[in-house]
Each structure stands twice: as C-alpha cells, then as structure tokens.
C-alpha cells in the first residue's frame, strides 16, 4: 500500500474547472504545460474527464450558476482527491466578493458537501507559474 501511496505523489492528473473566473487564471494554467515550466517532469498532466482526475484545479469565485456543477464534478471525482483553489477568486472570491450572484468562496461551498475535503490555496491574481508549482507540491506534502 505504501508504494501505491508514494506513486500517487508522482503522478497527479489534473482536471481543470472554471467556476466563473475572469478567464485570466484559465489562461495562466496553460503556461504550466509550456517548455519553460513543463509540469510533466513531475508526472502532472491535464486530463479530460473528472473520473481520471486526482486534483481538481478550480479557478474562480463560485456563482449561483456554477455551484451545482462544481459539486457534481466534485462528487464524480474518485477519492482521494485534492482540490486546488486557484487565484484570489478561488481562495476568497476576490474582487467579485460582494457581487449579487456570488455564493462562494470555494472552500465554503465544498465543505458543505464534504467536511474533510483537502484544499490547497494558491493566491495571486493570477498566480505566477512558480507559485502554482509550489502550491501543488506543498499540497502533496500535506496528503
């Protein structure tokens, strides 16, 4: 079992989910796949289906429209899984906090669904690629 647990840290498949972000964070995520930052070195890759995912990368302040979708995707992801709250919006709803449509922040919404969800916070508007890599590595240390 130990070796399986260790291999979990060496192979993180990420599903990227946007819950009402301003789209800038979504663009920044792609930077991780470029030759300069190449996260495949650490076994991280983007996958197309939440069923394959080990980490949900959630960008954006959660609004009323996105909340049921977010919870649906979270329920579809096989556990154990890590949730990455990405950008200021993901951490705290950011500049959209007082908007009429916002029901977030992300951690509040997810904790209603599953009290022991594991969340990593990566602040920044948008975060730098170095910050993203560090955040994910620290999150793996905490598992």
């Amino acid at each position: 079992m130990d070796i399986l647990k260790k291999s979990f840290k060496k192979s993180i498949w990420v599903f990227h989910l946007s819950t009402a972000a301003c789209n800038n964070c979504d663009i920044e995520v792609l930077e991780l796949l470029t030759p300069r930052y190449d996260v495949e070195r650490f076994g991280i890759k983007l996958v197309g289906s939440p069923r394959h995912a080990d980490a949900l990368l959630v960008c954006g302040s959660v609004n009323a429209h996105a909340k049921p979708r977010l919870l649906e995707v979270y329920r579809q992801t096989p556990k154990p899984c890590l949730v990455v709250a990405f950008g200021s919006c993901g951490c705290s709803s950011g500049i959209f906090r007082d908007s009429y449509s916002i029901v977030g922040p992300l951690d509040k919404v997810l904790k209603e669904e599953d009290p022991d969800v594991k969340i990593v916070y990566i602040p920044g508007c948008p975060p730098k690629p170095e910050a993203m890599i560090e955040g994910i590595v620290m999150g793996l240390g905490a598992i």
Binding site: I3, L4, S7, D38, G43, G48, S49, R51, P78, P80
Partner: protein
Amino acid sequence: MKLLFYYLIFPGFIFASVIGLLTVWLDRKVSARVQWRQGPPWYQGFADIGKLLYKEVIIPEEAFGSGFIAAPLFGLASVVLAVTILCVSFFSMSEGFIGDIIVVWYLFAIPAIALIYIGSTSGNPLSSVGVSREIKLLLSYDLPMIIIIVMMASKAGSFSIQSIMDWQRINGSNISNWYGIISFAVAIFCIQAKLGRVPFDLPEAETELGSGILMELSGGVLAAYELSKAIMLFGLPMFLIILFWGKGIIGGILLYLLIMVLLILIKNTNPRVRIDHAMKYFWGWMSGAAILAGILAYFGV
C-alpha cells in the same frame, strides 16, 4: 507449470508490462523532447498504474457492475496471451500452432471490443460517440492489415508464426523487398490506429469528447486498460517484427526502436483526422497500397 510460467512471468505478463511501461515512458519522453520539454522520469508509467490502483473505482449507475470491471480484465488477459504466443515463437521456446498469426491479431482486438462494451453500457453520451468511432476505426484498419497478413502467410505457405519466420530465415526478410517496404508502411499506420494514437485517437479525442470512450473509467479499471495499452505498445511492434524481419534478437531490437521512432514521429507531427477521413484513408489508399504490395509479392519483387 511451464505454460503458466510463460504466461505470467517470461515472456508474459511481468516481462511484457515492464517493457511496455518503459516504452510508454520512451514515447512520452521523446514527445517531450520533440516539443523542447524535459519530459517525465523513467518510472512514470509505473507510478501512473500504482496511483490508479490506489484510487477508488466508481461504477456508473447505468452500467452493469461486474461486466464493467471484468471487461478491461478480459482485454488485459487476451493481450498478455497474444504477446506470450508471439514471444514464445520469437525466442524459439515452442513450436506454435497453425493459424496462430490470425489468433494473435484478433486477440489484439479484444481490448477494443471490451472498451466498446464499457463505453456503450456506461450511459454517457460522449462515450457513445466514442464507441461509434471505435467500431468504425476497428473495421477500417482491419482490412489492409488482413490483406498484409494473408500475403505474408501465402508467401510462407502457412498461417503459422514459425513458418513465416523460417521462410524469412531462408529467403531473406520481407522488408528487404519492394512489396515488404510498401506493406511495412501500411502496417505502421494500421498499428498506429490500433493503438489509438494521434492522428487516429478519435475514440478518445481528449479535447473534443473529453476522453470519450474512456470517460467513465476510474481507478483500477482504468489501470487495467492503461496496462493493456502499454503491453500492446510492446506487442504490436513485435508482431510487425515477426511479419517483416523474422530473425535475430539484435536486429529485432533495432527494428523495434525504428518502429517506435516512426510511431512517435507520426504522433507528434499530425493533427487528429475526422472519422470519415480515417475510413476513406484505410479503405482507399491503404488497402490499395496493400493490394499493390500483394501484386508485387506475386511477381516476387
């Protein structure tokens, strides 16, 4: 006892998985280097499988539970059997039997059929689009490949792996003739499609179907599928080596690397084709080329 050893350890399950997963790494590493990236470490394939085994398996409500778990295991078992038959003949550990080349080619089709079963019972609309594409792809690449297999077998005078290899040992490798070169090119594209790699990754289509036919697989079920795909990445080039080269371990390894390089370059330089293009391509150009090779083979050039 001996058969069980062949099947489970060498050259069966353990040997083929290790080589297959290393080949998966080679594939990802070379692709990364082509794109000027660093690429994953050598144990990446093993880590992926270990990780998937660690995770929970979710079975969709619509799916028929035990079938959903058993189908990829069937696929895995049949691929291992195919690789065992191939390698046992290649390393001259046994005689083989008449018709084994056909048996091996259809054993390699079972993972695809298992996937079709899973995809169509999983109740996911994107999966069913993937299923229809997988069926069409299966039908289209089979035709040129069967023409080639029949051609090589009729050259050798028998449908057995051993006699195809013996014939080449006496008369020179198939690939040293014109008909061999043409049919080798056709066969490379056929196994590219059989492995479901770009440009023929239509059933999975990461970006448009969100991994389509694989969409509902998770945890151990996905691990069984990934492992059978890795073993196929070892087994199908092996199949070509037997058809076209036939002798010698050193030459076999070199040809294996050449085939891998070709597969990786095709993967990295092509966009995904549409399903009607793929069918037209295989039933038109590729089958035409295979028939041309057959005519050349009849005249012995």
